[in-house]
């Protein structure tokens, strides 16, 4: 399996796709696909995606509920963790 096949399969996908889904579509295994995703990250073609709740930028209207003791976007107690995702990145033009 070639790296470009993995990239094209991601480009063809819509919405969320798991590593296992990708592997199944490519007739491969998650163990083979994972290093290829790392190589695509190394090449800058995919990068950490937005799979959790987004940090609040600027004043949070719920700050009153936290008595002005807003712990900041990273530690916001209301944010839910979903693990990480990888998104396509725009192609380099150099």
């Amino acid at each position: 399996m070639k790296l470009v096949e993995v990239l094209r399969e991601i480009e063809r996908s819509s919405g969320m796709v798991t590593v296992a889904d990708l592997a199944r579509r490519l007739g491969s295994t998650p163990e083979e696909v994972r290093p290829m995703l790392a190589a695509l990250q190394a090449a800058g073609r995919i990068g950490p995606g937005r799979a959790g709740s987004r940090p609040v930028e600027g004043p949070c209207p719920a700050a009153g509920s936290c008595s002005g003791a807003c712990p900041g976007p990273v530690d916001c107690p209301w944010a839910v963790g979903f693990g990480s995702g990888l998104e396509l990145r725009a192609r380099h033009t150099g």
């Binding site: 996908s13 919405g15 290093p35 190589a39 090449a43 209207p61 009153g64 209301w78 963790g81 990888l86």
Partner: protein, 733 residues
């Protein structure tokens, strides 16, 4: 000068733990210039010689796109460290060696720290270190960063490489005829421009230009006379893409991957490639048909724990506030001669009834947050996102919508901000309109109160039904909107890298539960307190005749306003002014619905001030009822899996529950349970709280906020109307 050592590695390779062992306590934490990314820096010594060590942000490669990658790449190319320690996860050799290959191509002296060797050994992925050293041509030191194993050897290897001093030959990977032809021409031209030497070996610099690395490109462009070379690099990358049928940076990565595969083959170190137990679980949990029923079953267990198992503690807090705490407050007021007047009314009917009524639900929220934290930290929550993504895409709603919607189970405000994770303004707006239909934590006290009044034996089922109804209504509304005013476009892909399943870490779970529960408690001390005092004030202000604090509640400003609204709610089965008033005050925050009901129906005036047996007697009562609640909770746990040891239908009604039942029976003409259900549907669907509206306006503007306020009210009215009127017609309740 102190030799500089840089620690590089892929994210989660154990780099920072290893750095902490190397630098010990002697390290400082700051920020990288112009960035919010932390910079860890320290000193270590080997045989008296000191080394300055810097922990670089995690990166998979040296083509910089993100801030973290730019820092790592920029640091290596500008500072030329004496030694780079590349931390490679022994369980994921290929990814780590891909980075090590690039560091070697850049001509930097390198030591590979083969980390997590213990885990690799356990999984049968043990590496022949000597063979790997031979294949790479650089020192490889096995380490276990968590325990500090291998750190002295790593220090010694770093010192030896630094002491050697001689320049190293950059690694040369054969990139195949097409790339080598263009690369060769570029390198020849680069040799004619000696100013480029500062960026590293000519071949490496040209590889970076071909890969489109922005830092290298910018640095080269700033060198007089190198502009033509940069342009030639761009043309070469285009030519490679045309000839090879794949973009230059991908073609380069492909060849490096081949080189890494060759290294691994030569040492026989690819190891077994069978699926892990986490992969096997995923096949079931994210299965196309099984995933959704499993998710629903998990949610059912979560809500059974939340609504049923915590119920004895809810009753305990309620009894403590309405009993001993209220008695103490009355005695305190008596002691300072403030009893009998408006201050007593404010404290008892305003603060204690309002805030106390909401604080009683802390155990319920604690239960919900505990279960959610366990699901998050175990890795299951990420699977639910994938499962729901498929379901939602099937009906035309962007799958990623479920991420912010899941956040909405905690609080609508961050859920609205979480829509920033979506790609297009259309998707953001659509999901922003849907998130308020998710049952936030603040609605839970209302569900538990009403379900406890009308559906005692089926409390958790009713609560689960509310959660599911919210999802179903959101999907239906999304379906309508995505086919009318907000038409769908092709959603962009997101590869979910699901974290491996693990036993939840108690510290992480406790930190999440504590943070969320404390935020709820603080909310009771601020927003709910202000709302309760506000309701008390409006109850004290007369309309027409009467004076402040001396008017019947029905003739107060609050009563008058509520009566006007109650007319609209009559067809829904809850047209009493108290019910309308509770819903009106719920616009401040949904928990206020409960606090207002408590204020209006009971006032929480302690029935018996004398019968407590004094302060010590009260404490004894609190302690013994706590033990009783704990015992009841323990007995309720088996009921989660269907083993009923407690007769939950025989719970004693509190004063509030009795008053609520009587009020709903009256307002609905004897269909109290049906009206209660319609009320729950209304609370689930109607206009969200003020903070949510502010967040929505902030993100999407006033016009769409108005659309949401009116739209949600209409949806809620229609939903409650359907439940009550259809229910009556078919003879429910």
């Amino acid at each position: 000068m102190t030799p500089l050592v840089a620690i590089a590695g892929c994210p989660n390779a154990g780099k920072t733990t290893l750095f902490n062992h190397l630098a010990g306590a002697r390290h400082t934490v700051g920020n990288w210039p112009g960035q919010t990314v932390e910079r860890h820096e320290g000193i270590f010594a080997v045989n008296g010689e000191r080394f300055q060590v810097v922990d670089l942000p995690g990166t998979y490669g040296l083509v910089a796109v993100s801030a973290e990658e730019s820092i790592a790449t920029g640091f290596l190319s500008r500072n030329h460290p004496a030694v780079v320690v590349t931390v490679v996860d022994a369980t994921s050799l290929s990814s780590g060696l891909h980075l090590a290959a690039q560091v070697a191509e850049a001509g930097l002296r390198q030591v590979v720290a083969l980390n997590m060797c213990d885990v690799a050994d356990r999984r049968g992925l043990g590496v022949d270190v000597a063979a790997l050293e031979g294949a790479l041509g650089m020192p490889v030191v096995p380490t276990v960063a968590r325990s500090g194993k291998g750190i002295p050897e790593l220090r010694a290897a770093v010192a030896a490489v630094a002491a050697a001093g001689a320049p190293v030959s950059p690694l040369v990977i054969d990139y195949g005829p097409v790339i080598e032809r263009h690369l060769g021409a570029l390198v020849e031209a680069a040799v004619e421009c000696p100013e480029l030497d500062g960026l590293g070996p000519a071949r490496w610099t040209m590889l970076q230009l071909l890969a489109g690395d922005e830092q290298t490109t910018r640095a080269a462009e700033s060198i007089p006379g190198a502009g033509d070379l940069v342009a030639a690099g761009r043309r070469a990358a285009e030519a490679i893409a045309a000839e090879a049928g794949v973009e230059a940076e991908v073609a380069l990565a492909e060849q490096r991957l081949q080189w890494v595969a060759g290294v691994l083959d030569s040492i026989g170190g690819r190891g077994p490639s069978g699926p892990t137990w986490s992969d096997r679980f995923d096949r079931v949990l994210t299965h196309r048909w099984l995933g959704l029923p499993i998710f629903l079953a998990v949610m059912w267990v979560v809500l059974r724990v939340t609504a049923d198992v915590t119920a004895p503690y809810l009753n305990w807090v309620q009894a403590t506030i309405s009993g001993p705490v209220s008695r103490w407050a009355m005695m305190g007021l008596e002691a300072v001669s403030l009893d009998g007047g408006w201050v007593e009314s404010l404290v008892v009917e305003g603060v204690l009834a309002g805030v106390g009524g909401v604080l009683a639900f802390v155990p319920v929220l604690f239960g919900l947050y505990l279960m959610l934290a366990v699901l998050e930290d175990s890795g299951y929550m990420a699977r639910t996102a994938v499962v729901m993504d498929r379901t939602m895409r099937a009906v035309g709603i962007p799958g990623k919508a479920f991420l912010p919607m899941m956040v909405g189970f905690g609080c609508t405000v961050p859920a609205i901000y979480a829509t920033r994770t979506l790609d297009s303004p259309r998707d953001r707006l659509l999901v922003g309109l849907l998130t308020p239909f998710m049952s936030c934590g603040a609605r839970l006290p209302v569900y538990v109160l009403l379900a406890g009044v009308f559906f005692v034996g089926h409390r958790s089922t009713v609560v689960l039904a509310m959660y599911l109804l919210g999802i179903v209504v959101a999907i239906l509304i999304g379906l309508v909107l995505s086919r009318t005013v907000l038409r769908e476009r092709h959603p962009t892909p997101l590869v979910m890298v699901l974290p491996g399943f693990r036993l939840p870490d108690l510290r992480t779970v406790w930190s999440l539960v504590k943070g969320r529960t404390w935020a709820f408690v603080k909310g009771a001390g601020t927003v709910i307190l202000a709302a309760s005092v506000g309701v008390w004030l409006l109850l004290a202000i007369p309309i027409g005749s009467g004076s402040f604090g001396d008017t019947g509640v029905e003739k107060s400003a609050f009563g008058g306003t509520s009566k006007a609204m109650a007319v609209v709610l009559k067809p829904l089965g809850f047209g009493e002014w108290e019910q309308a008033g509770a819903l009106l005050s719920g616009l401040v925050a949904k928990e206020v619905v409960v606090s207002t009901m408590n204020q209006l129906y009971t006032g929480e005036r302690p029935a018996d001030q004398q019968g407590s047996g004094g302060f010590v007697g009260d404490l004894r009562e609190i302690g013994s009822s706590f033990l009783g609640a704990s015992w009841d909770t323990l007995r309720a746990i088996p009921a989660v899996v269907g083993l009923q040891f407690v007769d939950s239908t025989g719970e004693d009604s509190t004063a509030l529950q009795s008053a609520v039942r009587a009020s709903f029976e009256e307002s609905s003409g004897g269909h109290g349970a049906l009206a209660g259900l319609a009320f729950l549907v209304f609370v689930l669907l109607y206009t969200p709280c003020i903070a949510s509206l502010a967040a929505f306006r902030h993100e999407f503007g006033t016009r769409w906020m108005g659309f949401m306020v009116v739209g949600q009210f209409l949806v809620a009215w229609l939903g409650a109307f359907a439940v009550f009127q259809i229910g009556r017609l078919v003879g429910w309740g």
